[in-house]
């Protein structure tokens, strides 16, 4: 029998999750005077003190190699991954889906590439344009003021280009492009592919007490000076300074609790330090646990009133699951051999990128993708100089091999596409009826299928990347993949941009939350992660999660003031 320990304090707002959505909600609502508790499944972590920034590979015996909870290498800032010990998930027969979860303060804001792209005007009304999927109940104009405020608060570099569906922003100056980025741009220009400065939430000027980037190229390890965006340093710390925020780490939420009037009263969670169950009371509950984790929480919060899960009278919780499409082609480039030694680090991401450049063109797939690219003389580490047999020397050993390694170091580039998937009936998640995790919480089961749309988009990516490589005189590592291999399309969940599982809409019969991310069925319950997204444009989700959470939170503050909650 589980004994639930109840806390006496009733918070104004209980937020589940401390990433982009939860961090922003905590920031906005504590500033507005609400007493807020953030419940985080993982431990405390702050890049200001915990990052391995500047550690050389030879300073650890693993040389930066991966571990089970650091699949991107031991120095990566994110604790989590596609597999977490004791927290399984399942996939339906024939479905392939990988679910990335972070377990730490700041959640996945410790992982991402800081690529911060606003959704554009078309992205909110695609169904009206091509008949596929659904329109959002809100427009770009509704979102613009919040995107502007996120730019001002968090900081972002980029340039105003006046592109049709890539809105301008309030940008800090972009960093000078790296040599190979300039070189690729020449090829892109020749092929008619738009190539402009990247848009990343890394400071190139001091902002709100945070210093500018020092160009060590290690954003993924977490920034010791908080010069890039992650939730703890940029949102939770100032929220903490208001005196209104309580952070409850190592606490895995089991369910949202309800009263007889159909209002949320707080959440039950497992205190991972003690193993005991606890309850925390809140007048308002905001779920920001990530799209699939929030959906899981709703589906697991069953009661006589909500037999199909909480806020699920539409049956849409867990449906409309989307991830970005992805494909990658890398290669080696004769011209990049024997480059003069130089510091190639720059910021921890791209200084140039290629936004979707074929809007409105007739193609055999809908929507589009953007291109992220990079390579060159990065810091060597675990796995350095692997695969020499695939370079012109074809292998070898001894003095000549050593010369070859030296000559080919940094002579590689890779191109990655991130594109839009259309929600489909075969891609969703639900509760697995037979499996629980180590806390006894029923786990998610994923169903996944790409349509031809996504597969044909991957083909187009492959062709584009190969044309660019050819234009640069390079040699791709791999041959053009076949249709049978889906043209190298990344697996579902592999791009780590899951959205759509608690989607927003005007109609309570077909959507989970309204345009303010407020549950249709439960007035004091909100969702502030990627769950409410109606579509999944090629733009990485974080900037829109931040803007949407800011919009939701300010609405909640207004409603509290007006006594509407």
């Amino acid at each position: 029998m589980i004994q639930v320990q109840r806390t006496r304090t009733e918070y104004d707002v209980v937020i589940v999750g401390s990433g982009a959505g939860g961090g922003m909600a905590a920031y906005e609502l504590t500033k507005a005077g609400a007493k807020v508790a953030v419940v985080e499944a993982g431990p405390l972590w702050n890049s200001g003190t915990d990052s391995t920034m500047f550690v050389w590979p030879y300073q650890t015996p693993r040389r930066g190699g991966s571990t089970p909870d650091k699949p991107f290498g031991e120095h990566d800032g994110c604790i989590g991954g596609w597999r977490i010990d004791g927290e399984p998930y399942t996939t339906a027969p024939g479905s392939e889906f990988m679910w990335w979860r972070a377990r730490m303060l700041g959640g996945r804001t410790n992982h991402w590439g800081r690529i911060s792209l606003r959704f554009g005007p078309y992205d909110f009304r695609r169904k009206s344009m091509d008949g596929l999927g659904d329109d959002w109940p809100i427009s770009y104009d509704d979102m613009k003021p919040y995107y502007d405020d996120v730019d001002r608060l968090v900081g972002i570099y980029g340039t105003n280009e006046g592109l049709p569906n890539e809105p301008d922003g309030i940008f800090q100056p972009p960093p000078a492009p790296r040599c190979d980025e300039l070189w690729v741009k020449q090829a892109a220009d020749k092929l008619g592919v738009t190539c402009v400065p990247g848009r990343l939430s890394i400071l190139t000027k001091p902002l709100n007490g945070r210093p500018a980037c020092h160009y060590c190229g290690q954003c993924n390890r977490g920034c010791r000076t908080h010069s890039n965006f992650s939730s703890p340093g940029v949102l939770l710390a100032p929220a903490m300074l208001t005196g209104n925020l309580t952070i409850i780490p190592n606490s895995m939420v089991r369910e949202v609790t309800m009263n007889a009037m159909g209002r949320a009263t707080g959440v039950n969670f497992v205190n991972r330090d003690t193993g005991g169950d606890e309850h925390i009371r809140g007048k308002i509950v905001i779920l920001a646990a990530s799209a699939c984790e929030s959906a899981r929480l709703l589906l697991n919060s069953k009661s006589p009133q909500f037999t199909e899960g909480l806020a699920n009278s539409s049956g849409a919780v867990g449906k409309y699951l989307m991830d970005s499409t992805g494909a990658w082609v890398g290669g080696y480039f004769e011209k990049m051999r024997d480059m003069p030694a130089h510091n190639h680090d720059g910021t921890g991401g791209m200084h140039l990128y290629m936004p979707w450049w074929l809007e409105g063109k007739k193609l055999d797939f809908p929507r589009g993708y953007h291109i992220e690219f990079g390579g060159g003389k990065g810091m060597p580490g675990y796995g350095a100089m692997g695969g020499i047999q695939n370079y012109p020397p074809g292998g070898g050993y001894g003095a000549q091999l050593k010369k070859d390694y030296r000559s080919w170091y940094g002579a590689t580039l890779g191109f990655a596409g991130r594109g839009e998937m259309i929600a489909n009936e075969d891609s969703f998640c639900e509760i697995d009826n037979n499996v629980v995790d180590r806390y006894g919480i029923p786990v998610m089961k994923f169903h996944w299928k790409f349509a031809d749309y996504e597969i044909l988009q991957a083909k187009h990516m492959q062709e584009t990347f190969r044309s660019l490589i050819q234009e640069l005189g390079g040699t791709p590592w791999s041959d053009m993949p076949t249709k049978e291999s889906k043209y190298g399309l990344a697996r579902g969940g592999e791009i780590i941009h899951e959205v759509g599982t608690t989607r927003m809409g005007k109609d309570p019969k077909t959507s989970v939350v309204n345009e303010w991310c407020q549950a249709h069925d439960v007035k004091n319950l909100f969702v502030a992660d990627g769950g409410p997204f109606v579509t999944s444009p090629d733009k990485n989700a974080t900037w829109t999660i931040l803007a949407l959470s800011m919009r939701t939170s300010r609405k909640i503050a207004d409603m509290r003031k007006a006594g509407e909650l």
């Binding site: 693993r62 007490g209 210093p211 020092h214 908080h226 903490m240 510091n343 695969g387």
Partner: protein, 202 residues
Amino acid sequence: MDRRTALKAAVAAPFAIAAVTNAEAEQASLQVLGLFEAAGAEQAQAFKPKFFTAHEYATVRVLVDMIIPRDENSGSATDAGVPQFMDFIATDQPNRQVPLRGGLGWMDAESRKRFGKTFILATVAQRRLILDDIAWPKKAKKEFSHGVTFFTSFRDFTASGFYSSRIGIADLQYIGNTVNMNWQGCGSAANAHLGVTQPARG
């Protein structure tokens, strides 16, 4: 509520540290670097492998230096601690153990077949004859496929250890992993190599 009160300090304090000028940030970063430098000082005592047997370890030492020897620019794979690295990784990633042990066994078996002695007891010229047959996958004869698979992986493993070492990183002339407040691109020499020029800053 002790746990929670403590958190206020834990989270807010680093933010206060961050609220400084760029110069101070640079200094703070350099201090951090110094800390890690001190912590990373390598222990040069006699090394006892945890995974490799004494014979395997001797073979590894010979093989890695045949792959990456000392030259006029830098030391060899053993100078860079590659055998120790391999032993650590083999215990850290147990799925490597069978291919590694088996591959070293293949090398000995091949050497015995050809020369009647283990790989390390063969002459340098004899060892090279074996490597010549397995070091270029596309040119290799089918009968050596197992040796090719092992050697391809072992060469990558050697490179991984060597080029993540202090010696290897210096050999590649990597410049970076440091505070570089004045980033202005890769510099004119690198730009010239690729035939590009840095656009004027607006």
